[in-house]
């Protein structure tokens, strides 16, 4: 089936099998390997992307369901060579160790700050329930999100 997706502002017209998962389109056809396949059962959140601006798990979405939609992956967050405040904060606060969960963590945090620009620590932990870090890095992930919220409230992005 013919689909047309706009990924990080770039248009992709492709022929895909209806059974193809969005995460495979992004990685295999889009060449955007920032998005990870983790548990593959919509629990770990490593595959989180924004679909029309809203966080979804791309391992549990068919490419054909995203036909005509805008997709944002971690590669699409930076602007003019400048990292997004969330990316900066994850870097500064050491919000990652191996980095496998990081793209999903950042996009799930993006969803949180979209709906709640000044979250408390419990709210951050609750919002990231669907994203798992197996390096036990949650403390610094929470600090990263807090710092990003502060930066973004300052109007830098």
């Amino acid at each position: 089936m013919k689909v047309q997706l706009t990924i990080n502002g770039r248009r992709f017209d492709r022929e895909v099998e209806p059974r193809q998962l969005l995460v495979h389109f992004l990685r295999d056809l889009g060449g955007l390997t920032g998005t990870k396949v983790g548990c593959d059962t919509s629990q770990c959140g490593a595959c989180t992307v924004l679909l029309d601006g809203v966080a979804v798990k791309s391992c549990t979405c068919l490419t054909v369901q995203a036909d005509g939609c805008q997709v944002t992956t971690v590669e699409g967050l930076s602007r003019d060579g400048k990292l997004h405040p969330l990316q900066e904060a994850f870097w500064n606060k050491h919000g990652l160790q191996c980095g496998y969960c990081t793209p999903g963590m950042i996009l799930a945090s993006h969803e949180l700050l979209r709906t709640n620009p000044d979250p408390s620590e419990p709210e951050i932990r609750h919002a990231l329930e669907g994203n798992m870090c197996r390096c036990t890095g949650y403390q610094n992930i929470v600090r990263s999100v807090k710092e990003a919220a502060k930066t973004m409230a300052g109007g830098s992005q």
């Binding site: 593959d40 059962t41 966080a55 369901q65 669907g130």
Partner: protein
């Protein structure tokens, strides 16, 4: 993991769904896909055709009509949790929807898909049964409405036929002197309900005139805890009554209880009263 091959068609309207269901043998309806896609990936199901109903405008939206909430089948859990109408008129439903999975799951999963799938570990079937919801569906013989209590027929089995489309869920608006609440023990990884307790209490002149107490998660279909309901009816909703009533939770649940490696049936049966008590206390607190 990826699904076995299937054909994919997109429906533009409810009438279109009827036509496509008639044309395609062995077809399944796809809404948000958060129940269906995992099953396809595990190859527990391999339908020949998926009919995507996810973009049909008439299946979306929440409205209040004639004393009831009318919730389009495509309403997502995130929308249920944040809708002012639902928070006001059916607090337990908003409360339960906010506890499904995680934010990304709630952005995709729909109320219609959830109840049509009828996973016993799901949250909404118990809540909708406690709130006295009605399910609206259309098929080749026209439209019909089925109350929640007869909709769920068994584990992952419902009154919805293969050639029917679930269009909306109707939930009575909260009446004067009424309150509802939901309390659950979530599985730590999947967030599915190991035990879910949904209650709706009605009081008049300081006494409980009606109690609906429904358990999910540990039973194949939503199950009313009749002994608890009886122990509440006619009494003032003080701590003592709630304590005594919730202690009766295990009575009448029967032996057909679910258990798994995380929580055995015996364990669930033993602790279910805790969640019933929490839900009762929350609802009673809203009436105070």
């Amino acid at each position: 993991m990826f699904p076995a091959k299937f054909d994919y068609v997109r429906a533009d309207s409810a009438a279109d769904v009827g036509r496509l269901l008639a044309e395609h043998d062995d077809a399944k309806l796809l809404a948000g896909g958060h129940s269906l896609i995992p099953i396809l990936k595990l190859r527990l199901a391999a339908p020949a055709t998926l009919i995507d109903i996810g973009r049909i405008p008439e299946l979306k939206g929440v409205s209040v009509e004639g004393g009831a909430l009318r919730i389009g089948a495509l309403t997502t859990h995130a929308e249920l949790a944040s809708s002012d109408d639902i928070r006001r008129q059916a607090p337990a439903l908003a409360e339960a929807a906010a506890q499904i999975g995680d934010p990304a799951v709630r952005n995709r999963g729909t109320i219609g898909g959830n109840v049509a799938h009828a996973d016993p570990a799901s949250d909404l079937p118990a809540v909708l049964t406690a709130l006295g919801a009605t399910f609206h569906m259309t098929g080749p013989d026209g439209s019909r409405a089925v109350p929640a209590e007869s909709f769920f027929e068994g584990m992952m089995m419902t009154a919805l036929q293969d050639n029917e489309l679930l269009t909306a869920v109707e939930v009575p608006c909260q009446a004067e002197g009424q309150a509802s609440a939901y309390s659950k023990l979530p599985h730590p990884a999947s967030r599915y309900a190991v035990i879910g307790a949904a209650v709706r209490l009605t009081v008049a002149e300081g006494r409980c005139t009606e109690a609906r107490v429904v358990l999910g998660g540990l039973t194949p279909i939503p199950t009313r805890a009749l002994a608890v309901e009886q122990a509440l009816t006619g009494k003032p909703l003080d701590d003592r009554t709630l304590q005594a009533a919730s202690a009766a939770t295990a009575d009448g649940l029967g032996d057909d209880l679910l258990g798994d490696i995380y929580a055995s049936a015996e364990y669930r049966k033993a602790v279910a009263h805790v969640y019933v008590r929490r839900a009762l206390a929350a609802a009673a607190g809203r009436l105070a």
